[in-house]
Structures are given as structure tokens and as C-alpha cells.
């Protein structure tokens, strides 16, 4: 397929893998342990497993799978809130497909649907707005989630709803923002990261500047990466090259999509509709300051949190679940106590097992080949700690 196959070419992959294999020992020798590069975004995790990228790499280079899968970091209490909203008789609850199976403390949205809730899968928030227009006697709620990638389309939909006076449409806002979370991870004392692959589609919206603190303050190299396998390998090579040359910069491998200044229109729509929350709860990571957004008062008519009574209970993650350690990269998925035994895609305990972008589901579905070879013993012996909840800051 044109413009896709070019980015999956095995010849180029082998050449890049060779370059990476040549670079890695130079850096790793100085460190006395494998290089750990975190891919922040779930889309990268999916690509790494789907195309078997890790197998092309030397043992000295390891991917650490970051928190960038919005479905995976959704706390159980928020899923319960969705179910409570969906079960109200006048409500049509609309959601993206892969949020349907995420387990709440009692039900997932898929199970709530079977219990009689009117839950409908949509491909865009505009589809949800159309449902509201067609069903004026019903209340249509859109379950907005995702990082800055999906935020603009939700914002544009709310702007359209207000303009068109569609009063029976509201948003249950669970949008989150990536920068404070990266900061929380960098402040976490129990992991050693050497560099980052930056999220591609988030950066298409926010640009490359917000990552500067990673290079400047934390002295870690970062390359913003596309999602095709060659993109991932290329960006990894860029990070290793920085390490070898003792540079720490924000580099942009995904220049064909990501402009340095981001997308001004998208950012304006976000700013028009959303404001930062004081804090937001992340599954496995705990509460992170300024890591989520809510609907501004000027759009209160379209804010489900203001329109409906929402239980808003905090539900602790199951005790056996180690999603938090996996999200921070302290544990690899298969090192979790319940991976593949009590927690499988059929019966997910943790949300990382639910979405195809979740590190555990990706490991389970694609990565079980020879996984015993990639045991990070240092991580096993370190006690797991919760991420510090020191305030993250949104970059100017």
C-alpha cells in the first residue's frame, strides 16, 4: 500500500538495526546495564509488538512501555461513573470502541449494555452529536477520553453543539494531558530511563516545545516518533546517537506530520473549551496534579459532570494488580504476579490487559515468543513505589 509499505521495508529496517547494534555497546558499556528507552505512547507499544521490533534489537537496548494508552490509565471509579450515567433511562451513552471492555468495579460498558443501558459505539464525537440531533427527547453523553490527540475533536464538537443549540448533548470529560505525567515518571525514584520516544500524534497538536524540560532540566534525550515500524527504529537510533554524542535535545523524527509549533487551530479549540483540573486520578500512577482537563464554565450546559449526578467514588485497584509498576516501566508485563494467569485478555484485572495498546495485552497477544530472555532482574529486586504526586507543570 502506497505510503505505508515504504515505512515497513525490511531492508531499511535491517540497516537501521545494524546501526543501532553498533551504537548501543558504546553507550551501554559506560552504564553497566542495558539501555532503557521509554516509548510514551501506546501506539508505539502496539507497533513494537505487532511488527516484532524488539527482536531486531540487541539485548543491550530495551523498550520500557510508558503510560500513553488513555484506556489503560483510566481509573476504575471513572468507569463506574460511565456505567452509572449509561444506566440512566433517558441517556444514550456514546463511546469509542476500545473503552467498551474496560472493567469497572462491577460492570464494563459492554456488560452495562447487556443489562439494558443504551450504549453506542461511535467513531467520532461528531457522530455522537448527530445522535443527539436525531434524538431530541433523549440525553446524549459522549465519553471523551484520550490525550491531546483526541482533545481537539471533542472541543470542536462542543463548540458546534453550543453554536447549533443542541442542548441534549454533553461530554463526560476524561481527557488527560501527557506532559505532567512524563514529569511524574521522571521524578519517580525507582526507575532509570536513558531516553524517550515522544508521542507522535499528541505532538502534532502540541508541537515539540513542551518537551524541552525533558532535555534541559532532566538531561534526557527525546525523539518524537511516527508509528510505522521504521519510524520507531529511526527515532530509537536518533536517541542512541544523542546518548553516544552526550547530547540531550528534543529531536523530531516525525517531521512529516509534527510541526514544531503544533496545530494552532486545535490548540485554540482546546483552550476555548477546556481548563486544567487541580489533579486527576490515573490508574496505577495515583493522582497527578494538573494532568487532566475539565469543561469550562462557559460550556457548562454541555458538561455531563455538571448536568448529572455522578457517583465519583474512588475505587482502589485490585491488590494483585501491578499495572502501576508496569506503567512506570519498573516491571515488565510478564513480571506482574497475575500476568497470563488470573489476568488475561478474556478476564482482565488491570486495564493494561484491555486495550490493544496496553503493554500487557500487546505482550500477551504478540510478544510471548521467547519473553523469558528479556528479564530485567534489577527491576525485580527494587521495591515498587508509587509515583510522587508533586505538581506537574504544563509548559508555557
Amino acid at each position: 500500500m502506497k505510503f505505508v509499505d515504504e515505512f515497513r521495508d525490511p531492508e531499511h529496517a535491517r540497516a537501521l538495526a545494524k546501526e543501532i547494534a553498533a551504537l548501543a555497546p558504546r553507550i551501554a558499556r559506560a552504564q553497566d546495564r542495558p539501555l532503557q528507552i521509554m516509548e510514551v505512547c501506546g501506539g508505539h507499544t502496539h507497533s513494537i509488538f505487532r511488527y516484532g521490533i524488539q527482536q531486531l534489537l540487541p539485548d543491550l537496548v530495551e523498550f520500557v512501555h510508558g503510560p500513553g494508552c488513555p484506556v489503560c490509565v483510566l481509573p476504575m471509579g471513572r468507569v463506574d461513573d460511565c456505567v452509572a450515567l449509561a444506566l440512566q433511562p433517558q441517556v444514550i451513552f456514546t463511546t469509542f470502541g476500545d473503552a467498551m471492555r474496560v472493567p469497572g468495579s462491577k460492570l464494563s460498558l459492554l456488560k452495562a449494555k447487556a443489562e439494558g443501558a443504551d450504549v453506542r459505539m461511535v467513531y467520532s464525537p461528531l457522530d455522537a452529536l448527530a445522535i443527539a440531533r436525531d434524538n431530541p427527547a433523549r440525553e446524549v453523553i459522549f465519553f471523551g477520553l484520550g490525550f491531546e490527540t483526541t482533545m481537539p475533536s471533542t472541543a470542536m464538537t462542543l463548540i458546534a453543539a453550543k453554536k447549533q443549540g443542541i442542548r441534549n448533548f454533553s461530554l463526560f470529560c476524561n481527557h488527560i494531558t501527557i506532559i505532567p505525567t512524563i514529569k511524574a515518571i521522571l521524578d519517580s525514584p525507582d526507575l532509570h530511563l536513558d531516553g524517550f520516544l515522544g508521542p507522535g500524534h499528541v505532538s502534532m497538536v502540541i508541537g515539540t516545545r513542551p518537551y524541552r524540560f525533558i532535555a534541559e532540566h532532566y538531561r534526557k534525550p527525546i525523539a518524537i516518533a511516527g508509528f510505522e515500524p521504521l519510524d520507531v527504529l529511526h527515532a530509537l537510533w536518533m536517541v542512541l546517537k544523542q546518548l553516544a554524542e552526550k547530547r540531550c535535545e528534543v529531536e523530531n523524527q516525525y517531521g512529516r506530520i509534527v510541526p514544531p509549533e503544533g496545530n494552532r487551530q486545535a490548540l485554540a479549540a482546546i483552550a476555548e473549551v477546556f481548563e486544567l483540573r487541580e489533579y486527576f486520578e490515573w490508574r496505577g500512577l495515583g493522582s497527578i496534579d494538573h494532568s487532566g482537563v475539565r469543561v469550562r464554565a462557559s460550556y457548562a450546559d454541555h458538561d455531563a459532570e455538571r448536568k448529572f449526578c455522578i457517583p465519583n467514588l474512588k475505587i482502589a485497584d485490585p491488590k494483585s494488580c501491578q499495572c502501576g509498576e508496569v506503567l512506570k516501566g519498573v516491571l515488565k508485563p510478564h513480571q506482574c504476579k497475575v500476568f497470563g494467569t488470573a489476568c488475561t485478555p478474556e478476564t482482565p484485572i488491570g486495564s493494561l490487559m484491555v486495550s490493544s495498546e496496553g503493554a500487557c495485552a500487546a505482550y500477551y497477544n504478540y510478544g510471548r515468543l521467547g519473553r523469558t530472555q528479556v528479564v530485567d532482574s534489577s527491576a525485580l529486586t527494587r521495591p515498587a513505589q508509587a509515583a510522587r504526586t508533586e505538581p506537574g507543570k504544563l509548559p508555557a
Binding site: 516484532g52 469509542f96 470502541g97 476500545d98 467498551m100 515468543l369
Partner: protein, 355 residues
């Protein structure tokens, strides 16, 4: 309406109602008119036209064709009822014929039971029945018995169809999932995932502008031409729901072998690849309705592949991999990119990704 009984019923009993109502399932006159008009009229064979409670199949004729009966049933629910390349009627005949064909059975007769939702246009049912008959003729089977039920509006989605089928398995054939052996090769008869993609596009939820026809088709004739060049085909299965990934996993588990496939060898339409890229779906798991996976001893692979390609239902046939010994009970794909990954059974439905 060539049969004498149908002719006799026709002038008086031609159905005047344009939509289905509960009386069409009540067992009385309205139901009889419906059956005579829609089913006897279309299916047109003496066994059905006798309007008895059962079809009688003479044993002598059956025994001459083989030494075992194959018997299968399947229920068809699809939205929309009509889609590019097929409809629920074609699906209901082809699907059951294919379930018989993949053990090497020659399909002979089918039943047809329908559940109708009150309010269904009678013309919709006529179109479905006509499509069933056209497919049955193409597959060389007769629809010889049936049942009609009508439920209240909202109790069913327009029209559900169940077909059961009987076929005869020639003596000496042993085609079963447990028979895969290391060294065998894996063949498919053409482009994968067309039916699943066609239904996704036909539902029009995506506003994708692509015309992807379903591959829905009866496969007995193709199987017969494959068996003609190699009666020792080890495994055959039609890759319907769950796609070829599911079939390969079933083979791997039943035979305790490893199915190794090559991504670059998979025959895929560009439109299907594109739809999968956009939605984050995997074509290995998309449904097919006219595709089978065959496990064939390596020494016969070229002959079987040539026979498939010479048949209209196998022009894009391809060898997609081979059977290995270890790791047992697994399916592994060599990615086009040069890596390897496990291809597991699907859990639940494939759900489109957020971003």
C-alpha cells in the same frame, strides 16, 4: 413456480399482504399462503412442494455416494440484510454448504427456518428466498424442508435464517483439524477479510468511500477440484467469524503443531488493507464467507495450488506458510518487517482503536 402444487396454490393463494404480520406465523391460511408464495414458489422442488412436515430422502441414493453422512447447522444474523456481493440468503446457503464441503462432503439437501419480525416487507423476504435458490442451484443443493416463525416487532431484527445441511462423504477421505503434520504447507484460496470489511463499509458508520464486495460464495466445487488432484488433503476449514487466525489456531491446537505464516504472502485487497489501517483492525481476524484454509502435504502443494488457481473461486490462491513441530499449539507470523509475533485467538470482538 413450475411445480404442480405451487401452480395449484398460486391463483388463489398469491400473497396480497405487503408486510409480515403475526398471522403469517400462526399456522393458518396466511402462513400457508406465505410459504406457498415465497418458499415453495422460489425453492421449487418436489420434496418441499409436497408440503409435508418432513422431507424424505431415499437411502439407496445416499449410500451410493459415500460411506458417511455429514450433517451441520448454522444460524445467520447479519446487518444489513443486503450488502455488496451478497445478502443473508446467499450467506445462509453458502455458509452451510461450506461447512459440509470442508470435510469433503458433497452437499445434497438443506433446510431453511426463518424467524421474521412483524413489519418486514414481504418483498424483502422474496428477494432473500430468490437469492437462496440461486445460490442453492449454483452449489448443487436443494432446500427441501423449512419452518416459519413470526415474532412481534422489536423481538428480532427483521429476519433471522437457520439452515441445516446434509452431505455425503466419499469413502477414504479423512479431512480433520487433527491431521496437520510438520512439513505440510498452508494454502488459502484468495483475498482475506473481504466479507468482514464489506459489512463494516456497508453499515456506513465510517463514511468510508470504498466498494468492497463480500466474498460470500459456496465452495464445494472448488473443494472437489482440489480433492481431484490430492485426496489426501489433511485439513480444510472455511475461515468465517474470527478469520484465518482462528482457523489456524484451531488446527494448531487440534494437531499439536505450530502454524508459521508469512505476512508478505497473505493475499489482501488494497481496500481491505486501507480500511484495517484506518480502524486499527487486523485482517487476520476479519470474517470471510468464501475462503478456506487448506493444510496439504508438501509434495502435493503445487498441484493443489494449481487446481485452486484454475478454479474461478481460487484465482488468487496463495501459499501462506508451513506447519512446524514447535512451539506446539501455536500460530506464529513472520512480519513483513522481519520480526515475528504470536497470532492468538481473538478475545471478544475486534474494537476500533481510539487514536
Amino acid at each position: 413456480m413450475n411445480h404442480p402444487l405451487a401452480r395449484k396454490l398460486a391463483p388463489a393463494a398469491r400473497l396480497r399482504d405487503t408486510t409480515i404480520n403475526l398471522s403469517h406465523g400462526s399456522g393458518g391460511k396466511a402462513m400457508r399462503e406465505l410459504i406457498a408464495d415465497v418458499f415453495v414458489g422460489n425453492f421449487d422442488n418436489p420434496m418441499l412442494a409436497a408440503m409435508e412436515d418432513q422431507a424424505l430422502l431415499p437411502l439407496a441414493g445416499l449410500a451410493a455416494g459415500g460411506d458417511r453422512l455429514a450433517f451441520t447447522t448454522d444460524t445467520y444474523v447479519v446487518h444489513p440484510l443486503f450488502f455488496p456481493g451478497g445478502d443473508i440468503g446467499k450467506l445462509a446457503v453458502a455458509g452451510t454448504v461450506n461447512d459440509l464441503a470442508v470435510c469433503g462432503a458433497r452437499p445434497l439437501v438443506l433446510s431453511c427456518a426463518v424467524v421474521l419480525e412483524e413489519g418486514l416487507p414481504v418483498d424483502t423476504l422474496r428477494r432473500v428466498a430468490a437469492s437462496m435458490q440461486a445460490t442453492a442451484l449454483a452449489a448443487g443443493v436443494q432446500i427441501v424442508t423449512g419452518d416459519t416463525k413470526v415474532v412481534e416487532r422489536g423481538s428480532a431484527d427483521k429476519l433471522f435464517v437457520n439452515t441445516a445441511g446434509i452431505g455425503i462423504v466419499p469413502a477414504g477421505l479423512d479431512i480433520a483439524a487433527r491431521n496437520a503434520r510438520p512439513g505440510d504447507v498452508i494454502l488459502v484460496n484468495g483475498n482475506l477479510g473481504d466479507h468482514g470489511a464489506a459489512i463494516l463499509v456497508a453499515r456506513n458508520e465510517l463514511a468510508l468511500e470504498a466498494e468492497i464486495p463480500s466474498d460470500c460464495t459456496p465452495l464445494y466445487d472448488l473443494v472437489r477440484s482440489m480433492l481431484a488432484v490430492c485426496p489426501h488433503i489433511h485439513c480444510l476449514r472455511d475461515a468465517t467469524r474470527g478469520g484465518i487466525a482462528t482457523v489456524l489456531n484451531e488446527f494448531a491446537q487440534a494437531s499439536a503443531t505450530c502454524m508459521r505464516i508469512h505476512e508478505r504472502a497473505l493475499p489482501l485487497r488494497e481496500e481491505v488493507k486501507g480500511a484495517c489501517e484506518i480502524l486499527g483492525l487486523d485482517p487476520l481476524y476479519l470474517a470471510n464467507e468464501g475462503k478456506l484454509v487448506a493444510i496439504v502435504p508438501r509434495e502435493h502443494a503445487d498441484a493443489v495450488l494449481a487446481a485452486m488457481r484454475a478454479h474461478p473461486d481460487g484465482t488468487a490462491a496463495a501459499m501462506i506458510g508451513e506447519v512446524c513441530a514447535a512451539p506446539a499449539a501455536s500460530v506464529i507470523m513472520q512480519t513483513g518487517f522481519g520480526g515475528e509475533r504470536v497470532v492468538d485467538m481473538l478475545v471478544g470482538e475486534q474494537l476500533p482503536r481510539i487514536c
